[in-house]
């Protein structure tokens, strides 16, 4: 009798355990700036990735298991990023780690993911050194979906050179890995063509007044200005450039969606030629549908960050599906075999540096409007 009871108990507990496993969610840990100077971008990273998770769950999740994404704040600060990811990895409940958003934060997370043997997938951080340190001979657990600064700037400088506009470029960027990678990317791409930056200067992140730096740039009379500032810093920079009568077109990664409408419409930055991994106006059916879904859900159109986060999480979920049990090592193996149809057209695969080569969009501003000049594979 006792052995019968034991057998039934064992059978029931086995059933409950397997049901619980089948029903336990697969959790992705995300470290992104939810507060601090670029938290607006963190918000879009969250929106884009949550939309991808929601859509995947609506299709049944992964073998019946729901997907969850747990966001921790890193304030775009490497120390905070290390703290948030260390805490996440200590719990051992995360199947993968997502993003960091800022290059400095992503670079700080990379060794943690490698030590814990958990895939770390990057959507937004653009520093070239991330790809240089990943894949063969490097960090096998880090995967980068967005293009590097170097690859985008090489495409841009090639374009500018063809039009005879690469001879005199002044650079003003934030003093972070993002800004430094921007100037480094320009210098490398220009050096390949026997040219160099006319000047480069760096401001502290979160600075509000750029009048001194812009006065200096204006006095040097460069042909183009590369402004590597983001979010509120970019808005302040572009507004001050306008009120100072800058009158020099912009280049580099110009955040057109953050240029005040009045400045854009005035034609002040006409002649600007820029490169971005994404533009909301890209004319593909998949992108149009994405823009509609995103705008309907969040009452705001997607931006670069939301697009990159959406596609990156979709790639991760695709790898989780193919991995079988969604364990970290199998997800990593599945990621290396990714074939994912991007909204921008190309079929995405990771190269031997675990880097994807999507299209970059070269665009210009003419008559106060954004005009896509072409796409260039990064």
């Amino acid at each position: 009798m006792i052995s019968l009871r034991l057998a039934i108990t064992a059978l029931l507990s086995g059933l409950f355990a397997s049901t619980a496993l089948a029903q336990s969610p697969i959790v992705i840990g995300a470290s992104t700036p939810l507060t601090g100077p670029v938290s607006h971008y963190g918000q879009h990273a969250r929106w884009g990735s949550e939309l991808a998770v929601e859509e995947a769950n609506a299709k049944g999740g992964i073998n019946g298991r729901k997907i969850e994404i747990d966001f921790q704040d890193n304030r775009c600060n490497p120390a905070e990023a290390v703290k948030s990811v260390t805490q996440m990895l200590a719990t051992k409940k995360y199947a993968a780690i997502f993003d960091g958003l800022c290059s400095s934060a992503a670079l700080a997370i990379m060794p943690l993911a490698e030590r814990a043997k958990v895939p770390f997938i990057i959507a937004n951080a653009s520093a070239t050194s991330i790809a240089e340190k990943s894949g063969e001979g490097g960090n096998a657990w880090t995967f980068k979906v967005n293009p590097t600064d170097a690859s985008m700037l090489d495409a841009l400088v090639g374009w500018l050179d063809k039009e005879g506009k690469a001879d005199s470029i002044a650079f003003l960027g934030e003093d972070t890995d993002y800004g430094r990678a921007g100037s480094g990317g320009f210098e490398t791409a220009l050096a390949k063509r026997g040219k160099k930056l006319a000047m480069a200067d760096y401001s502290q992140k979160g600075a509000v007044d750029y009048t001194a730096a812009l006065t200096k740039i204006k006095a040097r009379k460069p042909g183009m200005v590369a402004l590597y500032l983001i979010d509120a810093d970019f808005q302040n920079g572009i507004k001050q450039w306008y009120t100072m009568g800058g009158g020099i077109p912009l280049t580099g990664r110009v955040l057109v969606e953050q240029v005040p409408k009045e400045i854009l419409a005035s034609g002040f930055i006409d002649g600007t030629i820029s490169v971005q991994p994404y533009d909301v106006s890209v004319d593909t059916p998949a992108n149009k549908e994405f823009v509609d879904r995103f705008t309907k859900k969040y009452s705001a159109p997607p931006m670069l960050i939301s697009f990159e986060s959406y596609e990156t999480i979709s790639i991760l979920i695709d790898a989780m599906r193919r991995s079988g049990d969604a364990s970290p090592d199998k997800i990593r193996d599945a990621l290396t075999k990714t074939k994912y149809q991007s909204m921008l057209g190309p079929m995405l695969e990771f190269d031997n540096h675990n880097l994807v080569h999507n299209n970059a969009i070269v665009f210009g501003i003419k008559g106060g409007k954004v005009v896509i000049l072409g796409m260039s594979k990064t």
């Binding site: 507060t35 918000q43 003093d175 502290q204 979160g206 200096k216 509120a232 507004k239 009120t243």
Partner: protein
Amino acid sequence: MDLSFYAQLLLNGIVIGVIYALVAMGLSLIFGVLEIVNFAHGEFYMLASMLAYFLTAHWSFDYWTTIVVVTAVGLAVGYVLFEGLLLALRGEAFERSILLTMGLSMVLQNGAVFLFTTTPRMIETPLSYQNVQLGEVRLPVARLYALILGVAAFAALYLILHHTRLGKAMRGVAQNRAAAMMVGIDTRVVSRLAVAIGIGLSGLAGAALAPIYSVHPLMGFAFVFKAFAIIIIGGLGNVSGAAIAAVMLGVIESFAGGLLPLAMTDAVAFIAMIAVLLLRPQGLFGRGVRV
């Protein structure tokens, strides 16, 4: 570099200095009278900018009406702040005031993030984009107005402090609270007014600067951090000293940013602060007498 380059740097420096002064004067006044370092000062400035943004962008208030309304709201908030929170600190340890104002700062900042999100906003009125031009030198109209308002606020505060009974009472409380009480000064009324004026000044700063800088819940930090350096350089609690130090710092920073790598500008402010602390611990204009 031609003369217009240096003239532009000088003008930029004076304007940014007056902008610093707008924020620093209120901070200095509150410290002078109450001996409280208001770590939430930046958040009051941020909330004022937010209010200015909503008044202008959503209710189509004009510039001057916005200035008046936001400053008046600032005065009222200062009154409530004193009666509701700071009064409870009377006679208590300095450390408690730091903890209280830091806590208040966090509550206000995160409350604003919750209510308004961190999306940066810009006031887009014609005023935001107009400028006055003299040869090659340009001054945006919004900055010109901020300059005028800053100078007017300083002049008004100076007159109040030095030529009215109320001002004398404030200076009396600042110099010796016990003695001021013994001669019949109502220190509660004087302190309340000092806080109201201090927060009113941050309201004025927020409204005046909203058309110039991007408005978002985390904007308070940038200026207030600098304002702390300014009130130390000017002499803790010395409002005139803070104003003069602010303009000096603005000009020095502008020339440093124009002639040296930009990263040096903040270093200049804090090197100046350290130098003053070493050579003249009471500040450049500190005479042991506050306000």
